[in-house]
């Protein structure tokens, strides 16, 4: 059977791949571009409404560009901000592909970061080559275990992961507050909840500090590239990835095909949690040096946006994460240069997602950007 080659013309014809359709092009390119443009325009309107004058608005958008890609430092800041977003976003994308709407990256980042910090300031005397991987691994493992709780609950009891992960996020903040006050974690001589500093041997080294010690970009970016490749391979080239995608698209059919649903749910949540935990570890070991209340800074929620914007595709997530990282970095510059609050970025990010997740809305706003017959098409 297997030695027989597919040689007859019909079989050959069936193997041909259709050229990417116009609709795919619109979805992948035109919609995101429009989404960003509209979001920036609405952001300008919001500034106008809060009595920011036109020159300042112009200045702030110039600052946005300058602060994100305008200099070596800007690029360094963009990459630094993008790294955790991409890592956590990859985890969420993996979950989405497996049909799990994991809102819990924030909590997984908190737990992963917390454990990475503890490992990072303990074990004095370990060589760098062991200590750093150990801390990273501990963070990933902690995130994976924490996410597995929601996965296990879903698999064993059917509890919806949206609710459980939201609750686990809120619980994680309390755990963080509690642990940071414990004597073996809290920094000596401090009354406020703040952890000890990560030892040098567990820090992700800066990459450009030889040029300027203020350039914050660190070795975490290699982690990001590696993660993108691994997740891509996992999703599209392996049996487990096939099982993830099958369960995500049609869990019933997957079960009928003999794919173990509960295993997939727990495994997908664990992978997602590991990546989010890694994002947390990346923050504390590469940027912050320590953990304090709120160190996760909402990265877990922004990562949801990143995963959605990236269409749950690893490469898409990479670009989306870079965009959001650029917005973060540029937003800070905007605040400095134009005096416009960095919170504006949050609005712009939310709007981008609205337009990405509701392509019908973009088509309604820009009817001329799309082919007519596609306008009313049902998914």
């Amino acid at each position: 059977m297997t030695d027989q080659t597919a040689s007859d013309p019909l079989t050959q014809k069936l193997l041909e791949r259709a050229a990417p359709s116009r609709a795919e092009f619109e979805d992948l390119v035109i919609v995101p571009i429009f989404a960003v443009i509209v979001a920036l325009a609405v952001g300008a309107l919001v500034m106008l409404a809060t009595a920011v004058d036109l020159p300042t608005i112009g200045q702030s958008y110039v600052a946005l560009v300058r602060g994100s890609v305008g200099s070596l430092n800007a690029l360094s800041e963009t990459l630094t901000a993008a790294a955790p977003l991409v890592l956590a976003g990859l985890g969420l994308a993996l979950g989405f592909r497996a049909g799990l709407f994991n809102i819990g990256a924030e909590g997984q980042i908190v737990i992963g970061g917390l454990v990475a910090v503890i490992v990072g300031f303990s074990f004095a005397g370990l060589p760098w080559a062991i200590h750093l991987p150990l801390a990273l691994f501990a963070g990933a493992l902690a995130g994976a275990l924490y996410a597995s709780i929601a996965g296990w609950l879903r698999a064993a009891t059917g509890a919806h992961e949206v609710i459980t992960t939201i609750m686990l996020n809120l619980i994680s903040y309390r755990i963080l507050d509690y642990v940071l006050r414990q004597p073996f974690v809290q920094r000596e001589g401090r009354a406020d909840p703040i952890s000890r500093s990560v030892l040098d041997s567990a820090q992700l080294p800066g990459l450009l500090t030889w040029i300027d010690p203020n350039l914050r970009v660190h070795a975490g970016v290699f982690l990001v590239v590696l993660a993108v490749i691994v997740v891509y391979w996992l999703l599209f080239r392996t049996k487990v990835g096939f099982e993830f995608r099958a369960s995500g698209k049609n869990p019933d059919a997957a079960r009928y095909a003999g794919i173990r649903a509960s295993f997939i749910i727990v495994a997908a949540m664990a992978c997602a949690g590991a990546l989010a935990g890694l994002a947390g570890a990346n923050q504390v070991l590469g940027v912050l040096d320590r953990a304090s209340p709120g160190f996760s800074a909402g990265i877990g929620f922004d990562a949801i946006s990143v995963a959605l914007l990236g269409r749950s595709h690893p490469v898409g997530v990479l670009f989306a994460g870079l965009l959001f990282g650029a917005l973060e970095a540029g937003g800070r510059q905007m605040q400095v240069d134009a005096g416009v609050s960095v919170d504006l970025i949050g609005i712009i990010q939310a709007l981008i997602i609205v337009f990405i997740a509701a392509p019908l809305l973009v088509r309604a706003i820009f009817p001329w950007g799309f082919r007519k017959s596609e306008a009313g098409r049902n998914e």
Binding site: T11, L14, L15, R237, K249, Y256, G258, R260
Partner: protein, 507 residues
């Protein structure tokens, strides 16, 4: 009341569902509307009851053209539809379902449930449709739910009743009872459109017959003079053979043995009650029965999708009662699932991916943790060609295929694995005649090559045409067995057994 459809055309994108259809029905008559799945019957009726707006053509009531802006207009005009899939809210009571949309109310929008109960009882008494108004729909048997649907339509003082495939969920005996109700309604002066694809039923109940094919009227006639063969030709557009050619019955060893199996539903009710059953290689065993009598749970237990609460399953000499779904696949059990859209294929996956949905881990397609996609594509393309799956490319998404081609894809996937036992649940439901013939041919081929085959279907015709032996399930038990290989079975006896009457059955 006199209702006429003139030149109705309805398109969905490039697909023309109805092309210039004319239809006419008068008070006090039953119009039979016959057509294959996909012939445009449902679309036409949805136009008539205001759910779809026609692209061309008009609806004329008592000589006046009307337009419907929505279902409420059609209801106001006296048109009522009993849908094939019941439009009842399961967690509401009978009375709540009946009044929904035209509720009796008091002050402050207060819902007058007492009045609703009274009105439901009144209609029930008037037409002989007795139902407890306070019963929850989800707790009622389907036959009673159908009565609620009819009460709902009558409550809206409909003069035209559209009945869409009303007998699909009924036993032959319930069908007789249902026909009694239809005749009573006709004699009360209602106009009735009776939609079906079952030929003998339409000949029995209709006063006139209209046949649709490919969205057009393919013929009309008088049930007194038409034969089923003529109707079938009109419906399909060519002569149809109802017989399936099979090799002589030569069963081998027992391949599958189910012993005293008990299976529970999710709500802990007993679905399969102490069932024993055997399938030999080289024979087709058909499970007949009205939907909801435990057939689905039995098949889920045999394929490993549902854990039995008691009993055992022996396959090929091994106890597989607790084996996983995948282990059973690997031992050579193929399964064509009941609901191909929900459980058979993944619409968003490509045809190639669907083709290996339960064999991607096989050594042919995988090495180590990764899948060898080029191999998958080669095989998928050849199987698609072999099994006549009409598609431009194996890279196309499965949802783009027609129902018949989706089912051929499922059949191709299951039969190209190295199998010994084929389990097929409702293998041809909702398919056009061409696909039905093709799939029947393939199933019989599998049997002739020595596979054991277990078929479950709610279509008695299909069971009778294919099976060597027939078992009938009723309320979770096997109540009768028929040896079809000895000669034609008594369809009436099978029908009685399906309704739970076993006295004279058990051949």
């Amino acid at each position: 009341m006199d209702i006429e459809l003139r030149g109705i055309t309805k398109r969905f994108g490039p697909v023309v569902a109805n092309a210039g259809v004319d239809l006419h029905v008068r008070a006090g008559e039953v119009l039979g509307l016959l057509g294959e799945n996909g012939a445009g019957k449902s679309t036409l009726m949805n136009v008539l009851c205001g759910l779809y707006a026609p692209d061309e053509g008009e609806i004329v009531i008592d000589g006046r053209p009307v337009t419907f802006d929505g279902p409420s207009d059609a209801i106001a005009a006296g048109i009522g539809m009993v849908h094939q899939h019941f439009m009842l809210v399961p967690v509401f009571t009978v009375a709540e379902n009946v009044i929904l949309g035209i509720e009796p109310t008091g002050q402050l929008d207060f819902l007058d449930r007492a009045a609703a109960r009274r009105q439901v009882r009144e209609i029930g008494d008037q037409y002989g449709l007795r139902v407890d108004p306070d019963a929850l729909i989800e707790e009622l048997p389907v036959g009673v739910q159908q009565r609620v649907e009819i009460i709902k339509v009558l409550f809206r003082s409909a003069d035209v009743l559209i009945l869409d495939e009303p007998t699909a969920v009924l036993t032959p005996q319930e069908v007789e009872e249902f026909f009694g109700i239809v005749r009573a309604l006709r004699d009360a002066g209602k106009a009735i459109i009776f939609i079906t694809h079952k030929l003998d039923e339409i000949l029995e109940i209709s006063d006139r017959i209209t046949v649709l094919r490919g969205g057009r009227v393919a013929g009309q006639g008088d049930p007194e003079t038409l034969t089923t063969r003529q109707l079938a030709e009109m419906m399909v557009g060519r002569p149809v053979s109802f017989d399936v050619e099979k090799a002589a019955y030569a069963p081998g060893d027992v391949l599958l043995e189910v012993r005293e199996l008990t299976v529970l539903r999710n709500n802990d009710e007993i679905a399969v009650d102490d069932v024993s059953l055997a399938v030999r290689s080289g024979e087709i065993v058909g499970i007949a029965g009205v939907q909801g009598n435990g057939q689905t749970a039995l098949i889920e237990a045999i394929t490993g999708l549902r854990h039995p609460a008691g009993g055992s399953i022996i396959y090929d000499g091994r106890d597989i009662t607790h084996s996983s779904v995948r282990a059973r696949h690997a031992m050579g059990i193929a399964h064509i699932p009941e609901d191909r859209q929900r459980t058979g294929i993944i619409g968003d996956f490509t045809i190639a991916e669907n083709m290996v949905l339960n064999s991607y881990y096989d050594d042919r397609y995988a090495s180590g943790p990764s899948i060898r996609w080029p191999e998958v594509m080669q095989h998928a393309a050849r199987y698609a060609a072999d099994f006549d799956v009409r598609t431009p490319s194996v890279h196309a998404k499965a949802f783009q295929l027609s129902g018949g081609n989706q089912q051929k894809l499922v059949v191709a996937r299951e039969l190209t694995r190295d199998t010994k036992l084929l389990i097929a649940a409702q293998p041809t439901r909702g398919l056009d005649v061409g696909s039905v013939e093709y799939i029947h041919k393939r199933i019989v081929e599998a049997r002739d090559e020595g596979d054991g085959v277990l078929i479950m279907s709610s279509e008695l015709d299909e069971i009778v045409a294919l099976s060597d032996r027939i078992v009938v399930m009723f309320k979770g038990r096997i109540v009768a067995e028929f040896d079809a290989f000895r000669g034609p079975v008594d369809r009436n006896a099978v029908g009685l057994a399906m309704a739970g009457s076993v006295s004279e059955a058990a051949a």
